[in-house]
Symmetry: C2
Subunit: 210 residues, 2 copies
């Protein structure tokens, strides 16, 4: 429910409350449709008090974006990860990690905000392009290329297979959030995600010699 849950005193500061309320309202109504007044009302202070914590409405949005990027890096395997020892299980793990991260309400809401703003806000656009599309794609490509060289998967083009693995996941995740927003059943799309990963693994797995 909260950004960092609490500070060192176990209390949620006004600044954190403003952050949480903003994330919630922006994700539901869109940045432009939310007023400082509304945020203040929800937090329980006057609108002028907001400016003691954030110099502008735009700044609140940028802080939200920064938080999102920071959390994303937590999900990523550290640079030290030994790519030489990875097995195809990494693909299942990555999907699982992504699922876990975006199951936190705050990250789910910020994802919506970013999708909402992507065509009008350059920072949001760059997050989608760089952090949500390019980076996972490049990592997948690198891993597949390495597995190819080690001969533990079928000799398929890593450039193509990275698209085949990564791109459906992005669409499926967006569909998942849209269904949830409409209070519709998401079981079907979760099944599709599982089937997709299974199918991908079956395609890259070499035939067993008997």
């Amino acid at each position: 429910m909260t950004k960092t849950s609490s500070n060192k005193n176990g209390k949620i500061s006004t600044k954190e409350k403003i952050f949480d309320v903003s994330v919630d309202l922006f994700s539901k109504k869109g940045f432009d449709a939310v007023s400082i007044r509304e945020i203040a009302r929800e937090v329980g202070i006057r609108e002028s008090s907001i400016y003691n914590h954030y110099p502008s409405k735009e700044t609140i949005l940028n802080v939200i974006f920064q938080y999102f990027k920071k959390e994303l890096t937590k999900m990523r395997p550290p640079e030290a990860v030994n790519i030489e020892k990875l097995t195809p299980d990494i693909f299942r793990e990555r999907v699982h990690l992504t699922h876990m991260l975006f199951r936190t309400p705050t990250m789910e809401k910020i994802f919506k905000i970013i999708i909402n703003e992507q065509f009008k806000n350059e920072k949001a656009r760059k997050i989608v392009l760089h952090n949500l599309i390019e980076e996972p794609h490049k990592f997948t490509e690198k891993v597949l290329d390495n597995m190819n060289q080690r001969g533990i998967i079928r000799p398929l083009d890593p450039k193509i297979m990275a698209v085949e693995f990564q791109y459906p996941i992005f669409s499926l995740f967006m569909e998942y959030l849209l269904l949830k927003s409409n209070n519709l059943n998401t079981e079907d799309v979760e099944t599709r995600l599982k089937s997709h990963v299974d199918f991908f693994l079956s395609v890259i797995t070499p035939e067993v010699e008997k």
Copy 2:
């Protein structure tokens, strides 16, 4: 540049101008950030005159959504299409048709508006879910199932293969529009789209007996 280019007199009516300008501004700034005043200024009339053509700002948006849905049906093969005679070429054709339709500036702009509004506007959300995701997916599934029964493709699960074909296209198309919005090169993503279709066809095509 215009909705229907012109009416029967070859002239663009004020109503059409309002439509075109609204599509343009909404796609660039988002619905909430555009004022009736701004639309009127761009059209060359006073804001009160807008209300002679559309009863509210919300109505303009809904008319835009209706137009989008109407154009989408044009792309779709008529119900009369003989599914029994389809060959795997249909997949290439569908991608081509989609590409053509969304290359028209108006459709591209409305697509952006819909993506922008999807989490805050139920009509936009339903268009994404129903017209952009579910409908193409179900059609692909039906076609694959029929080809399966006729034995002209490999015996793969149509439910899974429909995801494998359709979902990457949605992501790739969004990436394409984001890159264009950022004035970045789209060659790479277009190549990926082609490779994806080629790969998909190679997967479903049965091995040739020699």
